[in-house]
């Protein structure tokens, strides 16, 4: 059954009657072009029609680190994220509701997505535990025992009013070595989706997305997908990844899930922000991505460029008068040189972070825009080859990317140096490396996450 679905997707043509689409009470999804497994689509939400594949910057506490709503619109962002846990903490979802929902509160009139709050709690708080009732934790303000249930997560998100809300799921970090726990989490996620659906009070104004779990076990992932798809939700996320697993495992789960989820509905891979990962997942049929990576790495002085990353603190940039990326049209690249940015970044001037953040978001948006255009113009494989050639000029494309592209049906001829040795599977070229910034789901929040610095989020349940 899985194989048949894969074949269907691979053989989809661009004839409009064959293109998948769906209509839900608060969402319309329409694929307008496909090539291989990749698709370019339009997702009509209550506040905005977004174009996919798309990258969604994270505005954890109601602000994408230093950028105004107007700048985010200039940068062509279609959907941004708010983190439920942080916003409920401060200023509180009641306050946000009184001020016009998240849209009115921050004055953003495009798409908004809120997560369930569960993941932040588990990763940010001591002694957070998942039980059948929900996520128990100690209030950071007074230490009292608190419980976040699926019902409460829905109530909070209903008050925040985002176009898309995420179900409360039981997410186990992929690095856990506990098959029984993954099994339990898979089934609990299903039980919780039913509770979420029942508690969701605004189904015609907000879209509840379910989150596929199952760790790295294909059997559990299949079960999760079948059970969630049976609930006929407007969209589905692939969760539980970006948590420290190897890239080989990662892409396989994505490939399985994009093949197994309904083609007419949006597919959201949570926590993906490395440009290379975005490209690979899009090639495999994913539509939506979010991560703090582009904005967080900017605050460490790292700029995203077609070749990979540019570490502005590096002294080599001190006399380099070129812009960050000569092909980028953003106003930071139009006005400032690497030398200038090196200067302000190394001196710790606060606005330096904003400049690099601005460019990094411009980069992710231009990347996804280019992918959409390439799919629509039926030249996506060539686009991917160019992209990989720029990032890996010596042809040392990582093994996992090669394997994933093979499954995606994209030939890497002319990109991969013939006979080049397979690099070790865990390397992710073009990013910061597996030990840094993998699995980030939320932005820094003073003072809680400050001390975590550049480490990956701790992977404890």
């Amino acid at each position: 059954m899985l194989l048949r679905r894969v074949k269907q997707v691979v053989m989809a043509s661009t004839a409009s009657d064959a293109l998948p689409s769906s209509e839900s009470p608060a969402l319309k999804f329409k694929v307008i072009a496909t090539q291989g497994r990749a698709r370019s689509a339009r997702m009509t939400l209550p506040h905005f029609t977004a174009h996919t594949p798309m990258f969604m910057p994270v505005g954890t506490q109601g602000s994408v680190k230093g950028l105004t709503s107007a700048q985010l619109a200039d940068l062509d962002c279609h959907v941004i994220l708010g983190n439920t846990y942080h916003l409920e903490n401060r200023p509180g979802s009641d306050t946000v509701a009184a001020l016009g929902g998240l849209h009115g509160f921050i004055n953003w009139n495009r798409g908004m997505l809120t997560d369930s709050g569960g993941f932040q709690m588990v990763s940010l708080l001591h002694l957070a535990e998942i039980t059948e009732a929900g996520v128990t934790f100690q209030s950071p303000l007074d230490g009292s025992a608190m419980l976040l249930t699926p019902e409460q997560s829905m109530a909070i998100q209903n008050r925040l009013g985002a176009d898309i809300m995420m179900a409360l799921d039981d997410v186990v970090p992929t690095t856990a070595n506990d098959p029984a726990r993954f099994e339990e989490a898979t089934h609990r996620t299903t039980r919780w989706i039913d509770r979420c659906i029942a508690a969701h009070s605004r189904p015609t104004e907000q879209n509840l997305f379910a989150i596929v779990q199952g760790g790295l076990d294909p059997r559990l992932r299949e079960i999760s997908m079948q059970q969630l798809v049976a609930r006929d939700l407007p969209g589905y996320a692939i969760g539980g990844l970006a948590g420290g697993e190897s890239k080989d495992d990662f892409w396989r789960v994505v490939a399985q899930c994009t093949a197994g989820l309904p083609p007419g509905k949006p597919r959201y891979v949570m926590g993906i922000g490395y440009p290379l990962d975005i490209v690979v997942c899009s090639a495999l049929g994913a539509d939506m991505f979010d991560s703090v990576y582009p904005t967080r790495t900017a605050r460490f002085g790292v700029a995203l460029v077609p070749e990979g990353t540019l570490k502005l603190k590096n002294a080599a940039n001190a006399r380099d008068f070129r812009p960050l990326d000569p092909t980028c049209g953003c106003s930071v690249c139009a006005r400032y040189s690497r030398a200038y940015l090196h200067n302000v970044v190394t001196r710790g001037i606060a606005s330096a972070a904003i400049l690099v953040t601005y460019h990094n978001i411009a980069y992710t948006q231009s990347l996804t825009r280019a992918m959409r255009a390439a799919i629509e113009e039926q030249r996506f494989p060539e686009w991917v080859r160019n992209y990989l050639r720029t990032m890996f000029p010596k042809g040392d494309v990582p093994g996992w990317v090669r394997d994933a592209m093979a499954v995606a049906g994209i030939s890497l001829e002319g990109v991969v140096a013939p006979g080049s040795p397979q690099p070790p599977p865990a390397e992710a070229k073009g990013g910061e490396g597996a030990e840094e910034e993998q699995g980030m789901e939320q932005e820094e929040v003073a003072p809680a996450a400050e001390s975590k610095g550049r480490q990956a989020q701790p992977a404890e349940a």
Partner: protein, 518 residues
């Protein structure tokens, strides 16, 4: 120049302290740096001394500064010619203007292209609804684009060929205006002498009053400024300077002298009152540390910019307050303290807000959907609410500083615009009296535990390093918002607070918290 460990200045060089440490800088090195920066205007090298310096020190500083002016003017002439290229640079930095022209042209083209792409995408998406209007929009858009592209081509070519005003063949300081540094500390006689020594020198395009805002009383400043201006007029070789009636009717016999060249004063912008006072005394250009100070403490400026049309001075106290502040001369010495310029400390509410500014840390703004200042046209007021700003501050989001700085800068710009209008209408004195009647309190630092782990760029020399504890922190008043926070979620004050701005509370530090002047 005031901090512990600074080396003494000599006849040859001054001591400068920057992020890379202390440096001894003489006129040659100074002018080399200025030439590298290619500013539109700059101040010549000055041996600046604080207001409490002894007369002998002051007179030495005047002598040095005058001598250095001559050297700087000579070097300025030399830097009018293109310089031989130094060493083998990877990239030759382009001449001023050329580089800017090219970058701007490239930027405009790219942005225009991107905008067109996105317009096309958007128009596709909007489809039928926009159909009737589309042809018209596209036609005008196309025409505008064509015109713009022609313009860009012209300017790009012009800039590339060096035919534009700053093309190839011009020196680094060609077109830069030299502002002669006028010192003299806090001694009117010295200031006059220093100005007289410099008046009428060829090549000087303006004057910079140095050494103000270094600890003298604000009420003494007008006398010091006037002394410098008098020195400029006193020299027989100076061009006839325009004169203006004194702003205080009581001393109509003494005419206030104005310079015919622009006058810049740094360090006198610590508050709107000081700005107004300096302008009334004849200053044309000022920097203003006030914006950064109030922004850092989470305030939005809300003071009205124009008096009500029917406003009249209420009491003689108003008139005399302004007169004392704007006195041309003070018989008992330069450091006379008067009560006129002291801010009223009872004007603030407990959360630090008053008639002239609001403190967005206060929980009273939690649900306030008004803009920072109703009626203000700045981007922050047009797009966001007090409630959002309050939240951003409490959440320690960078965007709070961005928005507050935008508003506060915009408000101060509107303020000086109002001053210009008052001068044009001959109403400056009335404006000063009205402004002095506004009740204003000190800027309070926000309460709460110190922020850990954030690097902050250090301020100019003399300002204290950010301290770990908030000194004299004022508790932010908990509003009526005890309601929805019963569960402990969204508690505003406990997680808030930012004590890095302790220096804002230290009034003495305000004087030192100014730009390093070159």
């Amino acid at each position: 120049m005031y901090e512990f460990g600074a080396r003494p200045c000599t006849d040859k060089e001054i001591h400068v302290s920057i992020h890379s440490g202390g440096h001894m800088v003489g006129p040659e090195r100074y002018m080399e740096t200025v030439a590298a920066l290619q500013p539109d205007m700059y101040v010549t090298l000055c041996d600046e001394v604080p207001a409490d310096s002894k007369p002998k020190r002051v007179s030495t500083s005047v002598r040095r500064t005058t001598a250095w002016l001559d050297t700087c003017l000579q070097l300025h002439a030399r830097y009018q010619q293109p310089q031989p290229q130094q060493g083998q640079e990877q990239q030759q930095p382009l001449q001023r203007g050329q580089q800017r022209g090219q970058l701007k042209a490239a930027q405009r083209q790219k942005q225009r292209q991107q905008q067109l792409e996105r317009e096309r995408e958007r128009q596709q998406q909007q489809g039928q609804q926009q159909q009737p209007q589309q042809p018209q929009e596209e036609a005008t858009e196309a025409a505008a684009t064509a015109a713009l592209q022609q313009q860009q081509q012209a300017s790009a070519n012009g800039a590339a060929d060096g035919v534009a005003e700053d093309g190839v063949g011009e020196g680094p300081l060609s077109g830069s205006l030299v502002f002669a540094a006028l010192g003299g500390g806090a001694l009117p006689a010295e200031r006059q002498r220093a100005a007289a020594a410099v008046a009428g020198k060829e090549g000087v395009a303006g004057y910079a009053l140095c050494g103000l805002g270094t600890g003298e009383s604000p009420s003494a400043r007008p006398a010091l400024i006037a002394a410098s201006l008098a020195g400029l007029e006193a020299s027989s070789s100076s061009p006839t300077a325009p004169v203006a009636a004194s702003t205080s009717p009581a001393s109509s016999s003494s005419l206030q002298l104005l310079s015919s060249l622009p006058v810049f004063a740094a360090g006198v912008g610590g508050s709107p009152e000081e700005v107004l006072q300096a302008v009334a005394a004849g200053v044309d250009l000022l920097d203003c540390s006030f914006v950064a100070q109030v922004t850092a403490a989470g305030y939005a400026l809300t003071f009205p910019l124009r008096p009500p049309p029917d406003w009249q001075p209420q009491t003689s106290a108003d008139a005399s307050a302004v007169e004392a502040a704007a006195a041309v001369e003070s018989s008992s010495g330069p450091l006379t303290l008067t009560s006129a310029a002291q801010p009223a400390t009872t004007a603030s509410s407990p959360d630090g807000s008053d008639e002239t500014k609001i403190n967005l840390w206060s929980t009273s703004y939690r649900l306030d959907t008004a803009p920072l200042l109703p009626g203000c046209g700045c981007s922050a007021c047009r797009q966001h609410t007090r409630a959002y700003l309050h939240h951003l501050l409490q959440a320690h989001e960078m965007l709070a500083d961005v928005l507050l700085e935008a508003h506060n800068t915009s408000h101060m710009q509107a303020f000086v615009q109002a001053i210009r209008e008052a001068i044009a209408e001959g109403q400056l004195q009335r404006y000063q009296q009205w402004f002095a009647s506004l009740r204003s309190g000190p800027v309070l630092p926000p309460a709460g535990p110190p922020r850990k782990g954030k690097r902050r760029a250090l301020g100019p020399p003399g300002s204290p390093a950010p301290s770990a504890e908030a000194e004299g922190a004022v508790e932010v008043e908990e509003g009526a918002g005890g309601d929805s926070h019963a569960k402990g979620s969204g508690g505003a004050v406990a997680l808030g607070g930012d004590a890095v701005m302790a220096e804002a509370a230290d009034v003495g530090a305000v004087a030192a918290a100014k730009w390093v002047r070159v």
